[in-house]
């Protein structure tokens, strides 16, 4: 178990290195730089700026300099947000992103499993069909369409909720972004759960559990749900990745001061350190979450023993 964990941690290192390398060189071979303006800077000033940011050195040397700094946990200063380091920006943005994304995932997991199980238990009933129709809608309507539609109905026409912004981080500002992020995932998880639940309910160990006279809710909770959750758990990796990328759009739509918004702004402004910082940060997050998901999967499924 621990052995597996550490080995996976070790393989995360080259993956991160690849992320850093691709992002670094892609950003640098791009035409246009952070100081391209309508009016060109005087050459001496430009040379000084380049020197201050080590950008006058050869690209490969810059790469290793940057790598060295990242290893010490320093993402450097932001080019566009003057007086802020990338670390500051990420730390400031992360709580908002985490709240939105984390609650969305939890909501999707709980509601999705619940709906999926209900549909599976009453297979081919009205409940089943309505749940699956809702799920199909959730899959077919992407979150960037869901977000404006929800805003239009709940925010503009009914004016129950604020349309955008963050306020002081009050809960009412978070409802719409969380819903828009969670709904597509609720739909996927409900479908997954329904499928695997139906399969599990036909399996031998459920028949055994029923045959030995276990009460129905125990059969479902203790035996069926555990088996049915396996595909859902393995979907959690892609799901968190989807929520994280989705939050880039959602944060832009709702004007939330999170990390995702910095990524888009940074990329458009050629703010190299900020973009690199967000990519590395998100890359690390996704890799760690995938590792976590794999470990949970191993704990749930005795067939997948996490040896060597």
């Amino acid at each position: 178990m621990w052995h597996y964990f550490f080995r996976r941690l070790l393989t995360a290192i080259p993956t991160l290195l690849i992320v850093i390398t691709i992002a670094f060189f892609m950003m640098r071979i791009a035409p246009g730089g952070p100081w391209d303006q309508e009016r060109a800077l005087p050459p001496e000033i430009e040379a000084n700026i380049l020197k201050a940011y080590d950008m006058d050195k050869p690209l490969v040397q810059q790469y290793f300099l940057y790598l060295g700094k990242v290893l010490t946990g320093d993402f450097g200063p932001s080019f566009k947000f003057k007086d802020f380091s990338v670390n500051d920006l990420l730390l400031n943005g992360f709580p908002a992103s985490l709240q939105i994304g984390g609650i969305a995932i939890l909501l999707a997991l709980v509601v999705g499993t619940l709906l999926g199980s209900m549909a599976a238990l009453r297979k081919n009933s009205a409940t089943d069909y309505s749940v699956m129709t809702v799920a199909m809608t959730g899959i077919a309507i992407p979150n960037f369409v869901m977000a404006p539609i929800l805003t239009l109905i709940l925010g503009v026409y009914l004016s129950w909720l604020p349309v955008a912004g963050w306020g002081d981080g009050e809960f009412k500002y978070k409802i719409l972004p969380i819903l828009s992020l969670a709904l597509p995932q609720v739909a996927y998880i409900a479908r997954l759960t329904r499928g695997s639940m139906i399969e599990v309910l036909h399996s031998n160990y459920i028949r055994t559990a029923r045959a030995k006279g276990l009460r129905e809710h125990l059969v479902l909770l203790r035996h069926a749900l555990k088996g049915a959750m396996l595909p859902v758990v393995s979907y959690l990796g892609p799901a968190t990745a989807a929520v994280i990328t989705g939050s880039v759009v959602i944060e832009t739509i709702f004007d939330i001061p999170g990390v995702g918004r910095y990524f888009v702004q940074g990329a458009l402004n050629r703010d190299y350190p900020l973009v690199m910082g967000t990519v590395i940060f998100y890359g690390m997050l996704i890799i760690m979450l995938n590792l976590l998901v794999d470990v949970i999967y191993g704990l749930l499924d005795p067939k997948v023993r996490l040896q060597d």
Partner: protein, 305 residues
């Protein structure tokens, strides 16, 4: 037919039976096709999708207006049947109906081409890894694992920002992202197919590896691949819309559903039709592909027969 004819020629005695009682064999694909036609949702979806595709192809002949012409008298006017602005006009005074259809062209084209790219890379890669197995397989699949854990959407966004909005770049980038799952599916299938007797027979007959993969392995792993293709196309359309929504997709005056939706979302309080029509088209298309994918899976999966 040919076989019985030959038999008749060789053994005329056999010809005594009535010639009508010939059992026509049904191939796996014909079987699957019949099952698919019994799935109402899938059939309706195929018809709808066909209509949308035809509308996209014949777009210039369906509306009296060109897609990039600005009508100064009709800026942001609501849908109106008398002027033939069926879906209204956008904030620049362009006809929305024709723009939605041109958006369909871009979205569908990106969807199919990117899926095509992912199909070619994924099937080749997966078949090679699965067929040769051993160390090659290990190495190739480890590579896929690493690629999997990369935050790909960020790279695609970076790519768009860095190299400008270029429609060919979009589908190559998206195809390059989507091939990973395809490779995994094909590899898994190849592993089981390559143990089959007919592959062994081909081996014994001295057929080259390349030919075995092309003639025996790939045709026999196509079932799950087709299902996955029908689920990849909407995925790609969705991603393209997502990029367009961020302002990184195709360039004006050309448009795609994502661009139209993002323009509509900005103006939804004053001109909701700008959001509603493209959103309906996108949602219906995604619906249809998903239903067809589900139907195909049921039709091709022998477990549920």
């Amino acid at each position: 037919m040919i076989k019985t004819d030959r038999l008749k020629a060789v053994i005329p005695v056999l010809d005594t039976s009535e010639p009508e009682r010939e059992i026509k064999g049904r191939s796996l694909w014909q079987d699957a096709w019949r099952r698919l036609l019994q799935n109402k949702a899938a059939v309706v979806s195929m018809v709808l999708l066909g209509i949308i595709a035809l509308m996209a192809i014949f777009a210039p002949w369906l509306s009296p207006y060109p897609y990039d012409e600005i009508y100064w008298d009709y800026i942001q006017s609501p849908p109106n049947w008398d002027t033939a602005h069926w879906f209204g006009t956008d904030s620049n005074g362009r006809d929305l109906f024709i723009r939605v259809l041109y958006g369909a062209r871009v979205s569908l084209m990106v969807g199919f081409l990117a899926t095509g790219v992912s199909l070619i890379i994924g099937v080749t890669y997966g078949a090679i890894a699965g067929y040769f197995g051993g160390r090659i397989d290990n190495l190739m699949m480890r590579f896929v694992d690493i690629m999997y854990s990369l935050p790909f959407m960020f790279f695609v966004i970076l790519l768009m920002v860095v190299f400008g909005r270029n429609i060919f770049l979009i589908f190559i980038a998206l195809g390059a992202v989507e091939w990973l799952t395809m490779a995994r599916i094909v590899r898994g299938q190849t592993l089981s197919v390559k143990r089959k007797e007919y592959v062994e027979a081909a081996h014994a007959g001295g057929v080259s590896n390349f030919k075995i993969i092309m003639r025996h392995i790939i045709p026999n792993v196509l079932g799950p691949v087709i299902v996955y293709v029908t689920l990849t196309v909407p995925q790609v359309i969705l991603t393209e819309s997502f990029l367009s929504f961020l302002g990184l997709g195709v360039q004006e005056p050309l448009t795609s559903w994502g661009v139209l939706i993002s323009e509509g979302a900005k103006l939804m309080e004053v001109a909701p039709w700008l959001l509603v029509y493209p959103a309906i088209f996108l949602a219906v298309t995604l619906f249809c592909f998903n239903f067809i994918g589900d139907g195909l899976r049921d039709a091709l999966d022998p477990k549920d027969r």
